[in-house]
């Protein structure tokens, strides 16, 4: 027989909760990190540079491909690649896309390398190198 416990007291009466664990603060994401080619979200807790994400959005969306994208996207699909005009037209289109970002001072174009025209056949490729002025980071996008 153990000691006689006073009336009204139970073993659980003596339990104390202790220190609660620190709450898990959700990761703060300014802008989701997306795959520039597919638009898939790469990670739930990695934040990407918003300007780079925006540029990715513009380069992977075809302008006016749906009724909700009348203001975003590129018109590269309408350029005939296998022609001598193609490099100039593509460069003009890239400049048009980056202009809003250059205008507000978030971006600086370092180089646009275009492989298109008769030697490249019916396809073209772009290597766009930009400097994100806020972070100073230099990023390269291909399309």
């Amino acid at each position: 027989m153990g000691p006689i416990i006073p009336a009204g007291i139970f073993p659980l009466s003596l339990w104390s909760p202790g220190t609660p664990p620190a709450p898990v603060i959700p990761v703060s994401i300014l802008c989701p990190e997306l795959d520039p080619n597919t638009g898939e979200r790469r990670s739930l807790d990695v934040s990407a540079d918003p300007t780079l994400t925006a540029l990715g959005l513009q380069l992977r969306t075809m302008l006016a491909s749906g009724s909700a994208v009348q203001n975003d996207g590129h018109k590269l699909f309408s350029i005939r690649k296998n022609s001598r005009d193609a490099p100039a037209l593509i460069e003009h289109e890239i400049n048009r896309i980056v202009k809003p970002f250059v205008d507000v001072g978030t971006l600086e174009v370092i180089s646009i390398v275009i492989a298109a025209g008769p030697p490249a056949g019916s396809r073209g490729s772009i290597k766009l190198t930009v400097k994100l002025l806020r972070s100073g980071e230099i990023a390269t996008l291909t399309a």
Binding site: I25, S28, L30, P32, P50, T51, L57, Q58, D72
Partner: protein, 523 residues
Amino acid sequence: MAIPADELQFPVRQRGEIREEYLDDLRAGLREMVDALGNPAFTDDEIAIATADHGEHWGRADALDAVLFMGQQRAVFMAKQQLPRTAASITLRRDYVELWDLPYLEASGGSGPVSAPCAAETTWLGSTVLGDPAAVKGRDSAGRVYQVLFSVQSPVNGDPAILTLIGITTGDGSNIGAGEVITWVENVPLLATPSGTVVTDFSGGLPAETDPDYVPRLERRIRHKPGAGNNAQMRAWSESGGKNAVGGAWVYKAAFHAGSVLVAVAQKRGSTVGPLARVPSVGTLTNVRNFLASRIPRFVRWLVLPIVTEYSDMVLSLALGAASDAGWADRQPWPTNNGATPASITVVTDQTHIRIASNTAPPSTTDDPLIMVWHRATSAFIQLNVASVASAGGGLYDIVLASAPGGITLAVGQRISPFSEQNEVIAQTIASYFDSLGAGEIIDVSSTSLDDRAGYAFRWPKPNEEEPQRAGSSLIPFLQDALGPALVDGTIAAVSPAVPTLPANPIDGPNLLVAGQIGIYPL
């Protein structure tokens, strides 16, 4: 027609409003985020860049906004279909026509008299049925086909027969002018000259009914249900019987005695100018009569009459800017009216020398004030090319014109106004104002009338409900709509008559006010 947003029964958002709300919420959310140490996770600068135009978040919000906006526009479109006045053409033609059993009116053909030389006592067969194989038919120079409306026998003395023709070909083009040659093509009587000549301009040829014409007719149909030969039924029959040529029909029940009914008909203006455009052509009246005859029972005494035009003269005082293309052309507009008395021609020596009365002397700064004269037959102002003005004493002025005006023969009583570059707009507005008026009464229906029919034979629809009879100050809002802010103020200095006079006998038909002599002067 656009509906003001507050008249719609649901809130309407502009394109981009939802996007901005979305981004505002996002910015607020990002601002509250903290890092592991409890400090703000992002600076406002970073948030601004992340939610800037053409970014990932912005693109998502914009796409959402676009989808919602398009859904909303469909709802707005549907809401507009509720009223005929705002409904789309397709809804009117597909749904309202079915719902109210009120089809659009067909195009109508012009009608008028043609002089047809032929041997004495030649019979020309006519028919009121369009396309009747027995009727005489002819073509004009453009190939439009017309048929003789009534059978006519030419006079014994060998004069040409005067035939009334109506267009089988419809539309504006069938309103051919006087002098046009009609070549007979079918059922030509023996010993007739192969062609005839149009005596006076044809009228009543109109294209098929348009939505702006259909909607008021539909609204009248909804407001006053036609049925069992009531007033609305008489009007609906009269309006649809003349195809698209009927511009107004007014019903006077018990016009002659109990059980009788009089319908007065006016024509649509179409492309015709001048105050007489609303007088129905013979063809229009015949179409209406035929249509009514096929529907009204035998025991009813009914009569379809054309309206009788009555000229209403006006003196308008308009506060327009001087020395302006939007107002008076001269710095000091001249001549001027003396209250209700307009400046008008008192003596015509010849077409370049006239004497006019004016309340004020011409400005000393110019020898040749810019003036214009009202041409009543076409309801238009015509500019006069003044060479010099000299006072003849007593408020009279001798005007020498550098050249005789074209399109008008100057005559005593014509009204002279200061010239305005806006004269065409003003003249057209005055014409369309008079077009909005309806026919007058046929008997005295005032409260002091001793006529037993006074309580019955009033005009239907009543003038306080639609198509007023009285001309007057309601012209000013018409002018304000047409001239906009250029017209600061305006008054009617004189209008005579303001109300159509009663005909001597109801059988003469009601009078309808049309634009008479008009003078416009600075206020």
